[in-house]
Amino acid sequence: MKIMHCPLNGPRNISEFTTAGEVGEMPDPRQADDAQWAEHVWVAYTKVGVVKEWWCHAPTSYWFIAERNTVTDEILRTYPANEIYRERKHFGAPEDHGG
């Protein structure tokens, strides 16, 4: 069984992990047209080569990012998500919304 290095828990059996697919930029929901949004929701690109993927260490629910070669299945690097996601994400002013 493959071993994956979790940035939080160290090397663990791959069966302890789940993946949420490739790391991708969500289009701006207010800018994207319907076709672009549908593509975002439904299309996976299954790229050949090195991809960035979301992985979760299931027992600890810890999400991180792995760079993996989809041809050789070699995991090149794993690191915390905040290496990519550094800023608080905003979706417009909240004050006039909600209730």
Partner: protein, 997 residues
């Protein structure tokens, strides 16, 4: 047969002479040699077992096959297709022919399984008796059973395969039979971690393990046989025949005395998986072993020669004959012909001669073999030697039961013989045409197979990091070379591990690859029956014809002809097949290779894979109280929950009484399995606003609010309630089955959003009790002094923190069952105490615990959906009438954009309520389809007969056009139709007055 009978009689006399000292050995068969022959057997422990209904005496540590061979029983089974008699061949397991049937176990390798007292053994795959198989007639039809026969013969007319041919083929093919009343076995699993795992305990593996351990590595040495030593245990390396024993003592001694080496014998490393993860099977236990470094010292497999009737009992691999002699002290025959293409054959001839077997001739396929110590010793012993010849045909006794002689012919070209010019009577043919490295694990690890035309031997290249091969699997065929190669592999591995391993040992100079494989030991015969694959009964022409039928690639030849698909998995056929395909298609053997090596290496039992069950179960804090109350429990996800309180036969009464107790009085429901999530921090409300469809930023403190979650596709995936206890603190519930996914989704989104919030799954930390019914306030008031429970101070959907029966509690007024009710969330450790206190306090009101069957029906009366039951993988909030809980004017929530898009398109279905008031009408079941003419428009998702309303009520997906008071048509499980009237839920208390009391 006259020779055999004659010798047998003489042997019996010889045996009788010895009875004084070793009586049990004498009874253990006329072919049993005198002590000390047979390194494994225990002559002091005779064991009686039965084969085909007849009793035989063997010795402890005998295999079924060796014990029978000692009694001159060679016929063990019938072949797969032609039902030809078959016997032992390798004495190493792995092939189909010696598979036998035990009482409770089919397909047991007779040449590996030890005998036990009273063991009942039968042959497999015959009709009538093993000796006289009625289906042996099929062999005569062989020319009508060409390669690809099944593909060619059975496909028309349509349906004839299923009706006519398949039952016939299934009866006449196949292996043993399974008894469904066999007792359960105990299987389990173990785990281990080592610096180095050495697979194979032959000369190379022993040397490698010793070298690695000497440098300080923790080593596991895995050997599939009972004794370490590999070929040292049975092969002959020198004229005197003493070297193997000496080397074995030296190497095994070193390994056994090293505390850093753990030895596992009779253990099969059945695969190589990524990152050196090895499943090792030993008896009924599966060891899951992780190794930093793996050394594969798997050795090599002796190959058969290919000539007419090469499958007869009495024809075996030389190593098979040597195993019988050396391991079990059994003479494999009385008069032998040894067919060889290397010097090892002369060693076999010497072994046989020393054991008292007459050697009729050594037939050397090489025209001018270079003399070697073994061949010189054979000459010194005056053994007859014929060179440049092949066994062109083996001659059978009647009905092919045994070999009775061979016809030799001169080799005049590759696979070509001149006219037969020698004939020898014999009852044993030993074959030594060469070897194939045991490449399976190496190829699973990603190595590639090559073929050197000059040595006619497969080679292995391109192993991944942290896996190495050594010994004859690595081409170090000579025993000294194998040991040196093992020593080097152990040293290199230790160095890779960062251990000090001293100076580099020398690699062997001469590896002994040259001359070990005769390049073309295959001699097609005009009458056929030169078997390439004995498991599948394929002869030479079958492989040639598969190529002629257009299948030039090996993977296709395999699938078309079935070559290599039997139990031996190509161990004895892959090399021959590759050579033939290369020859026919005029390519190099290296270009043909072998078919993809996949785990498992050998057959493994399902029990080994299953092992003991580790199914987790979850119990709530009140679990024992439910059992004491006589509840019938049911699984909900991993949890066990009370379905109703009473025995199965009182189900209807119990559910009805529980149902009415909540409507008319007061009941307790254990809701501990509800998910609990704490969200704290300045962004707590913002997180909820983004994760759920409703609005939460302005949710007042002390109030609860409905939660509806959709995924990015706008599909409903969970619901619950959020209670706000502070500006920065929400306590959320989620569905029993959904909470883990909800929690994980929150963490995933917030890994991207970076909101200032802490999210914790506290499901297991809290017990939950829903006390509901018109009298619930009264019961609770008696136990709770610090919270004003009056309708004014604590209205519906309010949330408070207080103390109930001395237990700190979060109290939420929610109306899932549609009555006045409170959800009490308390530390799990005190759930049982609170449950008890509530039952005592409610005694005056005749309070009763209520199970989930009643709870589900109560919520159905209110038209409340259960996510996952009334929704599916495509349900949008608006389809299930939850549009009111969707705030599309928020800046964002997961699913909002998809819901907007879905609302632009006409909906194809809608969840509607329905009623059937005719008391004699059949009641639909959940998942019954709803039809509009011929069109399926949906299905029933929930249904129950309400004792309160005296109606059948339910929820179903129907065409969105269907209107209130209209009719939907439901097709029952028995095919009948029933009509139901469409109503707007809730069915009960539509003004929601009761839950707001």
């Amino acid at each position: 047969m006259s020779i055999r009978a004659g010798i047998a009689t003489r042997d019996k006399h010889a045996g009788r002479d010895m009875t004084a000292s070793t009586s049990s050995a004498a009874n253990s068969g006329q072919n049993r040699m005198a002590a000390p022959a047979g390194m494994l057997i225990d002559r002091d422990r005779p064991i009686t077992f039965r084969f085909e209904g007849k009793s035989y005496q063997g010795l402890a540590e005998d295999t079924i096959a060796s014990a029978l061979a000692a009694h001159d029983v060679w016929l063990l089974g019938r072949s797969f297709k032609y039902h030809r008699p078959r016997g032992v061949r390798s004495m190493a397991g792995f092939e189909a022919d010696p598979l036998v049937q035990l009482e409770h176990e089919p397909n047991v390798a007779a040449d590996r399984r030890k005998i036990e007292p009273g063991l009942e053994v039968r042959g497999q795959h015959y009709s009538g008796s093993l000796e006289n198989d009625r289906q042996a007639i099929i062999a005569r039809l062989s020319r009508f059973l060409p390669v690809g026969f099944y593909y060619k013969a059975f496909f028309r007319p349509q349906g004839v395969w299923q009706r006519v041919w398949e039952p016939i083929v299934r009866r006449s093919a196949g292996l043993g039979s399974v008894r469904t009343d066999s007792p359960h076995g105990y299987y389990d699993k173990a785990y281990g971690f080592y610096d180095v795992v050495v697979v194979g305990g032959g000369p190379a593996g022993l040397a490698a393990a010793a070298a690695a351990a000497r440098a300080g590595a923790e080593v596991l040495l895995v050997e599939q046989e009972r004794a370490l030593g590999g070929s040292l245990n049975y092969a002959r390396f020198d004229a005197e025949g003493v070297r193997g024993t000496r080397l074995r003592a030296q190497l095994v001694g070193a390994v056994e005395h090293d505390p850093r080496i753990e030895i596992m014998t009779e253990a099969l490393c059945n695969a190589w998986f990524a990152n050196n993860w090895l499943p090792i099977i030993r008896a009924n236990r599966l060891y899951k072993i992780r190794a930093r470094e793996v050394i594969l010292a798997t050795g090599s497999t002796e190959q058969p020669a290919v000539f007419r009737n090469n499958d007869l009992p009495g024809i075996m691999l030389s190593s098979g004959a040597q195993r019988l002699l050396k391991l079990y002290g059994v003479r494999p025959g009385r008069r032998a012909v040894v067919l060889t293409g290397n010097s090892d054959g002369y060693g076999v001839a010497l072994d046989l001669a020393e054991a008292g077997v007459a050697v009729a001739s050594v037939v050397d396929m090489r025209a001018n073999p270079a003399p070697c110590p073994l061949s010189m010793a054979a000459r010194d012993r005056s053994l007859a030697i014929v060179t440049g010849h092949a066994v062109y045909e083996a001659l059978p006794t009647s009905r092919n039961r045994h070999v009775r002689g061979v016809a030799l012919a001169p080799i005049i070209g590759q696979g070509q013989c001149g006219p037969a010019d020698h004939r020898f009577d014999c009852d044993l043919v030993c074959m030594s045409p060469g070897y194939t490295p045991a490449y399976q694990l190496a190829l699973q690890a990603g190595a590639k197979l090559g073929y050197d035309d000059s040595t006619a031997i497969f080679s292995i290249q391109g192993l991944p990091a942290h896996v190495s091969i050594s010994g004859s699997v690595n081409g170090a065929c000579d025993v000294d070379a194998a040991m040196a190669d093992g020593e080097h592999a152990g040293w290199l591995t230790a160095r890779t591990l960062g251990l000090y391993a001293g100076t580099e040992p020398e690699l062997p100079g001469d590896r002994g690859e040259r001359g070990i494989n005769f390049p073309w030991p295959m001699f097609p015969h005009p009458k056929g029956k030169e078997f390439i694959d004995l498991d599948e009964d394929l002869h030479y022409a079958d492989i040639v014809n598969a190529c002629a039928d257009g299948y030039a690639e090996l993977e296709l030849v395999k699938r078309y002809s079935t070559v290599g698909m039997g139990p031996s998995q190509g161990r004895h056929s892959a090399l021959a097949t590759a050579r033939i395909v290369a020859d026919v298609t005029r390519r190099k053997v290296a270009q043909i290779g072998v078919t993809t090596a996949r785990p498992p290496l050998a057959a493994e039992k399902l029990g080994v894979l299953a092992g003991r069950g580790f199914e987790p179960e979850r119990f709530t804090a009140m679990h024992h109280r439910h059992l004491e109350a006589g509840a019938t429990m049911m699984p909900v996800g991993l949890w066990w929950r009370p379905a109703y309180y009473g025995p199965r036969e009182r189900r209807e009464t119990c559910v009805r009484e529980e149902w009415l107790s909540i409507r008319n009085n007061v009941g307790l429901i254990d809701v501990s399995t509800l998910g609990g999530i704490e969200v704290r921090g300045p962004d707590a409300a913002e997180l909820l606003n983004r994760m759920y469809t409703f609005a939460y930023l302005k949710q007042p403190i002390g109030k609860a609010r409905y939660l509806l979650m959709t995924n990015e596709a706008g599909t409903v995936i969970d619901d619950g309630v959020a209670a706000r206890f502070a500006e920065h603190h929400f306590y959320l519930t989620a569905t029993t089955g959904g909470v883990d996914g909800v929690y994980r989704a929150m963490l995933w989104w917030n890994a991207q959003w970076r909101l200032d919030v802490d999210i914790a799954n506290v499901t297991a930390a809290y017990a939950g009790i829903n006390i509901a019914g018109p009298n619930s306030r009264e019961v609770l008031t008696g136990l709770c002094r610090d919270v004003d429970l009056s309708a004014e101070a604590f209205p519906a959907v309010a949330a408070r923190v207080g103390t109930v029966a001395g237990v700190p509690a979060r109290i939420i007024r929610v109306g899932f069952v549609g009555e006045l009710g409170y959800e009490l969330h308390v530390p799990a450790s005190q759930g049982e105490a609170l449950w008890d206190a509530l039952l005592v306090a409610g005694k005056a009101h005749d309070i009763r615990p209520v199970g989930i069957e009643a709870q589900r029906s109560l919520r159905l009366e209110k038209g409340h959906i259960i996510v996952g039951q009334d929704t599916d993988a495509m349900t949008s909030p608006h389809e299930c009438n939850m549009g009111w809980a969707v705030k599309l004017d928020k800046p964002f929530f997961v699913g909002n954009r998809s819901i907007e898009i879905r609302l632009k398109h006409p909906s194809r279905r809608r969840l509607v309520g329905f009623e059937i008031d005719d008391p004699h009408s059949p009641v639909p079941e959940e998942s019954n389809i709803v039809l509009d003419g011929d069109t399926i428009t949906g299905q029933v998702t929930s249904v129950a007969r309400s004792p309160v309303l005296n109606l059948v009520i339910g929820l179903a997906y129907a065409h969105p056009r269907v209107e209130t008071d209209g009719v939907i048509h439901i097709k029952l499980s028995n095919g009948r139709m029933v009509d139901a009237r469409v109503v707007d839920p809730p069915f009960y208390d539509p003004q929601n007055k009761r839950q707001e009391m």
